[in-house]
């Protein structure tokens, strides 16, 4: 088993306490729950996605737990600008604010609220289940480039989270790179559906949703591997990571850090337990394994 050296890491313009971040959309609605995850071992946290206007989200059911992951369609619920108040106690902590909008101007407007308050911005171009938002932009390279450019121009570290629901993810990664992104996060959820056979209807209120968790780990590894070949930006791997070995595997595919989300559902102490096995003072330099599965 590979063991890494302990110590802070700087990736995509953001200095993290370790390589493990809390993924967007998981326990990221309040400052208190973000603090709790930092206290419980997360090296950085990504907030719930914040948009230009408050939203209640979709009617339920919003979540269903599956053997192999989690199916959800939240519908981007968020308090909009009021969220700045949640971050007051988190100044100078490794907090990345996830933002979404309907066009480049909206992305820049929302991101601008958090300048000086957040360590970085993560663009949610990839939420697959909110009409007019997210994936509608994330599948179009030109729009991805424009939205990235609008935010990176603010001078804040800009991470771009990609949807796997495209034919060629590297085309989107390259678009983010052209837009001046500081890093790429891959991947968001995979568009999915389940139907209740007894109720004869889809189990999510929104019908369609996004699949996360173990089921999508192989998809995420493949996407990170492809992006590492095609882009020169740092990559943060995300999608179904739940063990130390998953972290190492994702790094070997080309990720410099990882985000963990669904695994928190089963174990709120997941960051502490992965850290325990991942790090040691005499561990190796992470650079030795990042992308080592290529070539």
């Amino acid at each position: 088993m590979v063991v890494l050296r302990t110590g802070p890491v700087t990736i995509g313009g953001v200095t993290l306490d370790n390589h493990l971040l809390l993924a967007a959309g998981v326990l990221g609605t309040t400052g208190a729950s973000l603090s709790r995850m930092l206290a419980r071992g997360a090296g950085g946290v990504v907030t719930k996605s914040i948009g230009p206007a408050p939203k209640d989200g979709h009617a339920g059911p919003c979540v269903t737990l599956l053997d192999c992951g989690i199916l959800n369609a939240m519908g981007l619920p968020n308090p909009s600008r009021e969220f700045t108040g949640e971050l007051e106690t988190l100044k100078n902590r490794p907090v990345i604010v996830s933002v979404f909008g309907g066009n480049p101007d909206e992305f820049a407007e929302v991101a601008g609220w958090f300048k000086g308050l957040a360590a970085g911005i993560e663009l949610n171009l990839s939420c697959p289940h909110a009409e007019g938002y997210g994936a509608a932009i994330g599948v179009d390279p030109l729009l991805v480039e424009k939205c990235t450019k609008a935010v990176s121009a603010l001078g804040i570290p800009t991470w771009v989270k990609l949807t796997p629901n495209v034919t060629n993810i590297t085309a989107i990664g390259k678009a983010a790179e052209r837009g001046g992104a500081s890093a790429i996060v891959a991947i968001n959820t995979v568009k999915a559906m389940r139907i209740s056979t007894s109720l004869r209807r889809p189990v999510l209120g929104n019908r369609y949703g996004g699949l996360s968790g173990e089921a999508i780990f192989p998809v995420a590894v493949r996407c990170v591997y492809e992006l590492y070949e095609a882009c020169s930006l740092p990559i943060i791997g995300c999608g179904g990571i739940s063990t130390v070995d998953n972290v190492i595997e994702m790094m070997m595919a080309g990720a410099q850090a990882v985000e963990i989300g669904s695994a928190v559902q089963r174990d709120i102490g997941i960051f502490e337990s992965i850290k325990r096995d991942l790090y040691a003072k005499k561990g190796i330099e992470p650079g030795e394994i990042v992308g080592c599965a290529h070539g």
């Binding site: 309040t30 339920g60 979540v63 269903t64 308090p79």
Partner: protein
């Protein structure tokens, strides 16, 4: 496979309890601890958290879209159920249970498990008192109504003043948050918060501890997973009784 898709249940009986509260019985029983809740899916409308009032029933106050839609349902209709989720009340041997309004719903199964010595039951008016007869079969019920139409004229906290609270080993509370906060102040004044538990209600989306909609300040605990039952000791310096968050995550005063 361990998929936890909603379980379909068929309504077998709908009991009108008060002008604003009905109990919906279904054809399937769930193993649960008093205080635990289920996510109730009203197909085509929404999904809402609701305490189990027995192994095969929920007791619902008409409040919003989903509960309004439930009141239009008849026996034979289907619901989807996820859960039970969350924790239950810690049992004692000589418990005091305090309920306000529909808060009696999760306390009925506790009383029926023979551990409640005394039950304080409050409501706005006589007609809104919930489960008087059922509770009376299991425990010693003392009533207060805001308008004095039955029992003591006043609040459950007025009833508490006549009791020796130290005689009980546990105190379980469920009701509207201002009422629970008043109970909290009273037990706190007597140094009894550690043995008192409150069942919190917060806006929930996932019910399984992952989305964060129901997290409470200042520790970020999840009402759906770390609660909904919390010790008074823990709630002392919390948002309890002061504010909560709406569906979008914006704070609103209680």
């Amino acid at each position: 496979m361990d998929d936890q898709l909603p379980v379909q249940v068929t309504l077998t009986e709908i009991q009108t309890e008060t002008p604003s509260v009905r109990t919906f019985f279904f054809d399937r029983s769930f193993s649960f601890e008093p205080g635990q809740f289920v996510m109730v899916w009203v197909p085509g409308v929404d999904e809402i958290p609701m305490a189990l009032s027995s192994a095969n029933s929920i007791t619902v106050q008409k409040a919003g879209d989903a509960t309004g839609a439930m009141f239009a349902l008849e026996t034979g209709a289907s619901l989807g159920i996820r859960g039970p989720f969350g924790n239950g009340f810690t049992r004692g041997e000589k418990m005091l249970a305090i309920a306000g309004g529909v808060g009696a719903a999760p306390l009925l199964p506790l009383a029926r498990s023979d551990c409640v010595m005394t039950m304080l039951l409050g409501a706005r008016t006589e007609k809104e008192l919930l489960f008087v007869d059922q509770l009376d079969e299991s425990t010693d019920v003392i009533i207060a109504t805001d308008d004095g139409t039955l029992g003591q004229h006043g609040f459950v906290t007025d009833l508490m003043k006549d009791l020796s609270l130290a005689a009980y080993d546990r105190i379980a509370v469920c009701g509207p948050e201002p009422m629970m906060r008043a109970v909290f102040s009273l037990v706190d004044g007597q140094g009894l918060t550690a043995k008192t538990e409150f069942s919190l209600h917060r806006y929930m989306k996932c019910g399984v501890g992952v989305c964060g909609s129901c997290c409470i300040d200042p520790d970020g605990l999840r009402v759906c997973r770390d609660g909904p039952v919390f010790s008074g000791e823990f709630l002392k310096k919390s948002e309890f009784g002061h504010y909560c968050r709406d569906a979008s995550g914006r704070k609103k005063t209680i």
